[in-house]
Symmetry: C2
Subunit: 116 residues, 2 copies
DNA sequence: TCGATGCATCGACACTCGTTGATGTTATGG
DNA sequence: CCATAACATCAACGAGTGTCGATGCATCGA
């Protein structure tokens, strides 16, 4: 039971915390890039659908209907999410299956840590 | 060891979790509005400066120098952060002191909760 | 090999966003 | 009352973003 809270190493993450100390321009730009990927309703819904998928992955064509967007638009958003490191795509045959990168999501969450 | 994951009540927050279930358009738009406020380097630096301030509040004029932006630009970003509920301004005489709304920040963080 | 399917890319459009100088508003001090 | 200072708002510009139809590319089935 001892050292239950001391086992993790939160300082090991890539994203600096917002609340630890003032960010410089470089750190701020990098963090802003991550949040920019989250700053769109369609992309948030893509992430939530991925998170709720039983197998943890969803085919591109399965986004088009529920999100009421054209296929190029979905592809566009998936590219942005992919470049932000939030999702990864895996081509299998004609289909591309996307899944969540929960570590990256946790990184962004850590940057918002309300003071440990 | 039983019911170890059932102790917390994440549904008590205002922001729906990204990872709980698929978001509808309204929820996604609201969440996206919050992250949009975070999706700018200047605004992230504003927040980090506020978080690191000893008194928890910073005068508008104190942002202009460190951030290398004009006064109208700083005022513009503070307005966006204010409308997003992330900061609050308090006018005292000629000065306006801004402080962090850590609850709102925690709400957005909660939406990124990587599954309890 | 050929047509069909799934996905990415391109081109173009309307719209939003970040920025700044100029101006307006509010409060202080003489 | 007037000058000054701090902050907000306005007008305008360039740059970026979301969207979609058209097109290209790869894969599968016949």
């Amino acid at each position: 039971m001892a050292k239950r809270v001391a086992t993790v190493e939160p300082t090991d993450q890539c994203c600096p915390s917002l609340l630890a100390s003032p960010l410089d321009s470089t750190q701020a730009a990098e963090l802003a890039g991550g949040f920019m990927a989250l700053a769109d309703p369609v992309r948030l819904r893509v992430l939530s659908i991925l998170a709720a998928a039983p197998d943890g992955e969803v085919c591109v064509c399965e986004f088009v209907g529920p999100l009421c967007k054209s296929q190029p638009t979905i592809s566009h958003h998936l590219k942005i999410l992919s470049e932000a490191g939030l999702v990864v795509g895996d081509r299998r045959g004609k289909w591309v299956w996307y899944s969540l990168n929960r570590e990256r999501l946790a990184d962004l969450q850590g940057a918002l840590q309300p003071v440990g």
